[in-house]
């Protein structure tokens, strides 16, 4: 594999594909917040029945494997009606929605803890919700690679396509290694940022 092919063709395609991964993750996280926060509120303020109901729904969402949910949405819920208007989900949207059960369950769990902290009179403790959501975002970015299985042109599908054209394992490993570096750099920066945020909040929490 030539260096010019890597820098001239492969890396730009991979970066363009990774934009789709981030796009999917942002949609999934926002939808997860929209779905998860009401369940967190229901678990906290909903009384015994409300909390039990929310706990059951959240445990079901937590147990649903993203990969299977994605194929379920692709094959069973392809068309959605909203206020009588028929909407067909694109590939990107299908993957994003398939990540919502995880995102929403995580939001609900972190949200309950944040509400608990708030009511104990610790707004800084409640603010730990933010680094938790940052962690969820990076988990979602990594999980969004599942989109390759349904033909969405994101980062992993670019890597798999490029590797399929190469004859030797060595060449393919170069392609994969570049992919790991490009996925790994934002992930590690993000996790470092999250750890810093957690430390800062923890320090202020102790000081308070």
């Amino acid at each position: 594999m030539k260096l010019t092919d890597i820098w001239g063709d492969y890396v730009p395609s991979l970066l363009a594909g990774m934009v789709t991964n981030f796009e999917i993750s942002i949609i999934a996280l926002l939808l997860g917040l929209v779905v998860g926060i009401p369940f967190a509120a229901l678990r906290f303020y909903g009384g015994r029945a409300g909390a039990a109901f929310a706990a059951i729904v959240v445990s079901l969402m937590r147990a649903a494997p993203t990969f299977v949910v994605m194929f379920f949405l692709l094959n069973v819920v392809r068309d959605v009606s909203l206020f009588g208007i028929k909407l067909t989900m694109s590939g990107v949207m299908t993957v994003a929605v398939s990540l919502v059960p995880y995102s929403a369950a995580y939001t609900a769990d972190s949200g309950v803890e944040a509400l608990r902290q708030w009511h104990r009179g610790s707004p800084l403790g409640a603010l730990l919700f933010l680094p938790n959501i940052t962690r969820a975002f990076f988990v979602i970015v990594m999980a969004s690679g599942a989109a390759a299985a349904i033909g969405v042109p994101e980062g992993i599908s670019v890597m798999v396509r490029e590797a399929a054209l190469l004859p030797t394992l060595g060449d393919r490993l170069v392609v994969f290694a570049i992919g790991i570096v490009l996925f790994g750099v934002p992930l590690q920066i993000g996790l470092a940022l999250m750890r810093w945020l957690q430390r800062e909040l923890g320090r202020r929490l102790l000081a308070a």
Partner: protein, 546 residues
């Protein structure tokens, strides 16, 4: 006495001539003339559709109007191989044509409803369809499923396709054959999107009728990038007439098809329409052979092709499954379709899928726990090279999306071993175990370090207590490993999701199928969560008392 000898000779010669005449088989041309002559004599009271067409001077022919090269409509004019055959038939019968637009769903019902006399619309001759209409023999074309891919990609046969993903359309008759060769299928509803998905590189390979791709290969830009790799699942195409009231029409068309093959009429029309002619050249040679070029050639098994038999062996309980589906439909109004229980190949895929999923989950859990211990020990080790190596591997695995880790594991596995279900499952277990085990191991090592700082025990007792302290993280990654197992289908592991995707590629009932997969995996993960609760309690019990 002198006249007796010449008379006997004359009589013997006459008898010989009569015997030879009787022995010489009637040609298809003569037989056709006889059939047409007889039909024209029944104009007063036509009973057969041939009589009606000849007397009314019109033959209603159902053709496709958007099947490039074979049947399209341009400025109101039907063009392509099939409309041109229709015109050749009409000319020979001396009638006008009334073209009627049909598609794959309407072409057979319209014959039954007497809205058309003849269907000439890219129809494959299968044994199932033999029960619905009368096919004309010999067949006028033969298509095959062709695998198309980039020229740079070396693919020559099935061995090169194992574990590769092929884009196909749902319900394609050749999907079952592809599945049996360990390929992965990406399903699309319409064939029309396949060339675009090849062009935008969503699909590396696509499989569809060669007749479908023929049009796209006339585009130089497409032909420069892609090529047919190989073909399989040949299907003869037949014209069809209604099973009743069309005996004479069918007979006339049988004979006419023989003549068209023998004289190269089909071949000439195919060349004019720029479609593949290998089959037609072969057929011309067959129908020029004396044994086939007779009035009865179309019933000679040495001359005609058999219909394609696509019927899958039913399971012993297929009838009960159908009855259950009907019950759901009638009593509850729910459309439940269970294709995985109705045919033997689908049922076999289903059972193997369930068994493989359970093996995969147990394997992934075991591997995750084992790697958690190994990484925990290595990351918390005092021996620096081991610690650094474990740290580097952990960072790499954390930076790789799980699907990519699976792909890399599969690449290594296939470089070392030939493809098999066991190899794919093994690679998946390794990838899932490494990914989740390294993360859990990091938590264990952090617990080791914290216990170390707190002082107290050292060696094995400290490590066991660290396992207890990191029980929450270990359990979280065990659950994550179980949830990640369906992703193994991406590298060809024959677990339930992959198996049922294969089943739904050649049968109906996708909605029920994927609901079943979702319920199966959700229940399995919930059982794993429940079992992990016990493990967590046990691990936490290993912690040293404060």
């Amino acid at each position: 006495m002198s006249l007796r000898v010449p008379c006997r000779l004359l009589l013997a010669f006459a008898a010989l001539l009569a015997t030879l005449a009787a022995a010489r088989a009637e040609t298809p041309d003569e037989a056709l003339e006889a059939v047409l002559k007889e039909a024209r004599e029944h104009c007063a009271q036509p009973t057969d559709r041939l009589e009606r067409a000849l007397c009314g001077k019109t033959l209603r022919i159902g053709v496709r109007d958007y099947y490039p090269l074979f049947g399209t409509r341009e400025n109101g004019v039907h063009v392509g191989y099939e409309p041109d055959i229709a015109r050749a038939i009409a000319r020979r019968l001396g009638v006008e044509i009334e073209f009627v637009r049909v598609n794959a769903a309407t072409r057979i019902p319209m014959l039954g409803e007497d809205r058309i006399d003849l269907v000439l619309a890219t129809m494959g001759h299968t044994t199932q369809r033999d029960g619905q209409l009368r096919f004309i023999r010999p067949h006028y074309y033969q298509s095959e499923t062709v695998v198309v891919g980039p020229k740079a990609l070396w693919i020559s046969d099935w061995n090169d396709l194992a574990t590769r993903t092929i884009c196909v359309t749902v319900g394609n008759v050749s999907n079952a054959q592809m599945v049996s060769h360990n390929t992965r299928l990406m399903l699309f509803d319409e064939a029309g999107v396949l060339p675009d998905r090849l062009k935008d590189e969503t699909c590396t390979l696509a499989a569809q009728d060669d007749s479908f791709f023929a049009y796209y290969f006339t585009d130089p830009a497409f032909a420069n990038r892609f090529e047919p790799k190989f073909g399989f699942a040949q299907v003869p195409w037949g014209m069809g007439v209604a099973k009743t009231g069309s005996d004479k029409l069918a007979r006339a068309l049988d004979l006419l098809s023989q003549i068209f093959h023998r004289d190269g009429t089909f071949l000439k029309i195919a060349l004019e329409n720029r479609i593949r002619t290998v089959f037609l050249e072969d057929q011309q040679r067959i129908w020029q052979r004396p044994e086939c070029n007779t009035a009865e050639g179309s019933t000679n098994k040495n001359c005609v092709l058999p219909a394609l038999n696509l019927e899958l062996k039913p399971t012993p309980f297929a009838a009960s499954v159908s009855a259950t589906e009907d019950w759901f439909e009638k009593r509850l109004g729910i459309d439940v379709t269970l294709p995985m229980l109705k045919t033997a190949p689908a049922f076999s895929l289903f059972l193997n899928g369930v068994a493989n999923s359970l093996i995969l989950i147990v394997g992934a859990l075991t591997a995750t726990f084992a790697f958690a211990i190994a990484f925990g020990f290595s990351l918390g080790s005092d021996f620096r090279p081991l610690r650094w190596l474990a740290w580097f591997v952990t960072m790499t695995l954390q930076s790789s999306p799980i699907v990519l880790t699976l792909v890399i594991a599969a690449a290594f596995a296939h470089a070392l071993l030939p493809y098999s279900a066991g190899v794919a499952l093994g690679a998946s277990i390794l990838a899932l175990g490494l990914t989740n085990g390294s993360n859990a191991g990091q938590a264990v090592s952090e617990a080791v370090i914290s216990l170390h700082h707190e002082g107290g025990e050292k060696g094995m007792p400290l490590f066991v207590h660290a396992l207890g302290r990191s029980a929450v993280s270990i359990v979280a990654f065990l659950i994550n490993a179980a949830k990640g197992t369906p992703a193994a289908s991406f590298i060809g592991a024959p677990e339930l999701l992959g198996a049922l995707t294969d089943v739904s590629s050649f049968s109906s009932g996708r909605a029920t199928t994927y609901c079943l997969v979702l319920v199966f995996y959700t229940i399995v993960v919930m059982i794993v969560v429940w079992a992990c609760g016990w493990l967590r309690a046990w691990l936490e019990g290993r912690q040293a008392p404060a």
